[in-house]
Amino acid sequence: MVKTHIGLLCTTALVVVSFCGPFYLPGQALAQEKTARPEHPALLFRLGPRTPEQIAAFYEARGFPAAAIDALNQTCFITVSMRNKSNKVIWLELKNWRLIAASGEIQRLKRSYWQQLWSHLNVPQANRSTFGWTLLPETRDLQPSEPVGGNITLPPTTEPFTLEARFKTGREKRAGEIILRYDNVRCAGREAKQ
């Protein structure tokens, strides 16, 4: 098992900068190391909380109707980018990710939630399709050198939380597990709004 602890240096800068600067602490041995290392040896992994203004601007420019924009404004978006840097398959499975706040676990808004909402709001099929492509896939067998990216969505919160992402590795998921923990993650732009 490869266990890595990554604390995020998330400050107000994340509102204008795409990604928080991860501070990489692989286990106890390097806990005192001060060098920021933004990558796991096998997996490039980036988190970028998006402000409601960024999200609204993006989807408005794609012709999303006002009712959909209103709904998106009530949502916390975090953009995730990954690339498999190993020579093994790495399994992205969002069911193995946890968002843990002091008050309890935060439940991600899954694709089924959005599909129901878009049906309820009569959002055009083109917008639904575009939205779907901007979400992080629920599952992906990331091949060597393969990138993947997209948003995860959750109810807005002002509370900081820990994102714990677990990845099985190997074609048969039997080559060990990668665990990444990002502490002190925050929904961007929520502080001033609430």
Binding site: T130, G132, W133, R140, P147, G150
Partner: protein
């Protein structure tokens, strides 16, 4: 005993040929199982209809993209250069825009690939039927209409490893 030894040698040779073929794939290109390609029947920006079913007999490079996708912006010029320089490569290049308006497509291609044309998948349903692993995505469909290769993410299609690979797979076998 000799038969077993010979079988072992032949098996080893077959395996090494397979491995060699795999190792000849350029970075980010995956061999597929040769499943039949889904239907692809769409109009381009001039209203001209393209039907993949009518492209039997030649290789087709099917590329899905969207203007909002940053990697698509980087990859598109390499496709334009591939088309410009591929010479007699027997390959039809087909771009498919996913779920955008003509205005968005026109503005994007004007910058990223002014010599390119694209099919329009206005509601995105054709793209979903192909099940790309993300955008951009490129499928290589053989002359029998079967998906033989999938390219993951951005590829520099005009670079030597990819041009050589495309030349190799599209070469007529004698």
């Amino acid at each position: 005993m000799r038969a077993i030894l010979l079988a072992g040698i032949l098996l080893g040779a077959a395996m090494s040929n397979g491995l060699a073929a795999e190792s000849l794939l350029p970075r980010g290109v995956m061999k597929q199982d040769g499943r039949p390609a889904p239907a692809l029947r769409l109009k381009d920006m001039d209203g001209k209809l393209f039907d993949l079913a009518e492209a039997r007999g030649r290789w087709v490079f099917v590329h899905f993209w969207a203007s909002w996708c940053g990697p698509c912006r980087r990859e598109m010029p390499t496709i334009q250069r591939l088309i410009a320089t591929r010479g007699n490569l027997p390959l039809e290049v087909v771009l498919v825009n996913t779920a955008e308006t003509e205005d968005a497509v026109f503005s994007f291609l004007g910058i990223a690939g002014p010599d390119l044309s694209t099919l329009l998948d206005p509601d995105g349903l054709v793209t979903e039927a192909w099940q790309p692993r993300g955008l951009p995505a490129t499928f290589l469909v053989d002359p029998e209409g079967r998906i033989q290769y999938l390219a993951l993410g951005v590829r520099t299609w005009d670079s030597q490893p990819y041009v050589e690979f495309l030349r190799r797979i599209t070469e007529p076998t004698s």
